[in-house]
Subunit: 172 residues, 2 copies
DNA sequence: TCCGATGGTTCAATGAACGAACCTAGGAGT
DNA sequence: ACTCCTAGGTTCGTTCATTGAACCATCGGA
């Protein structure tokens, strides 16, 4: 196709990554998946995104090997989208870009991150200054000074918790 | 505006970064700037991008503090776009995403990178395994196994050279 | 029988991207 | 004097993507 999704004639890895991840909303979907969001309706509440677009993005990420769609109960049929290993490895990309944004664009972050084992804040690379590389499951997120959304999914994300730990919104 | 550039209601640093960097072509413009591309026509040749879109992206990146527009000769008036310090600090983002793409999507990279001082290949974080963090000006790029574009700007980028070193296309 | 939750699809309107054509200012060639 | 060429854009009609509202399907519970 001549418009929108591909970068015809580009030779580099970056262009291939952007064909999958470079569309509007896509990287925010991945970020929320890292934060533990798994269900269609939870992504929708967190992102305020048209359902048609969310459906498209989840489908593309699934086809691209970043997410995996799984039925977690048979009746009524309910689905969740889990990060694959490839998806989890996007954590350094998401974190590095967030840190850049905080440094150069500004704004207060609503969430902060530290190495759960030793308590150190992370370097901009997402490594721990004491222990070196940290698997995302060993990163603890906790509330920062920035503004927070008030929807139930965001509220459930406001207590300190590990990356990838499933979000369970308080029903009601 | 309700469509396209903003992520209204998003609270995080990542969404602010994506308002500036998340549009089609934008990150590829930054990547080429890191590779030493500075002039409008050189970006255009490398990227095969409509001039109107390139003009928009260069303008936005300039307004956003990632690039700086400079007149490099008075007559005839000619301009170049240089990365600011903030722009240079996008190198880890670009590199980390490229490495992810190579690992998980595949394809041969047309360019490889090493620490110029010691010759070591870079870690996925863009750090040197021997020396730690490497300023982009100390990163040497050299041809890899992947396909290469045949335009004069790409050809001028194919000899080993430092990041940020201005590209001088062979005229003709 | 109706209601609500979940996980979507359809569709008209709007906004962005595309690419071809055009524009401007200054040399350079003849 | 006239024309061509280069650099750095702008304009504009067509095509594609995003939006938001409406609709749909399935199941369980009151």
């Amino acid at each position: 196709m001549a418009l929108g999704k591909d970068y015809v004639g580009q030779d580099c890895s970056l262009s291939r990554a952007l064909e999958l991840l470079g569309e509007r909303w896509t990287l925010l979907v991945v970020q929320n998946a890292l934060y533990g969001v798994r269900r269609f309706s939870d992504f929708q509440v967190r992102l305020d995104i048209p359902k048609a677009v969310l459906s498209d993005r989840l489908g593309r990420l699934t086809a691209g090997g970043v997410l995996e769609k799984r039925q977690y109960q048979p009746s009524p049929p309910r689905y969740e989208y889990l990060l694959t290993d490839a998806g989890v490895e996007l954590w350094p990309v998401v974190y590095t870009l967030s840190v850049w944004s905080h440094r150069h664009i500004g704004g207060e972050p609503p969430r902060l991150f530290r190495h759960a084992e030793c308590g150190s804040g992370l370097l901009p690379t997402s490594d721990c200054p004491e222990c070196g590389p940290v698997p995302p499951g060993d990163v603890e997120m906790y509330p920062g000074p920035g503004p927070k959304r008030s929807d139930p999914v965001s509220q459930a994300m406001n207590r300190p918790r590990r990356l990838l730990e499933p979000v369970v919104p308080l029903s009601g």
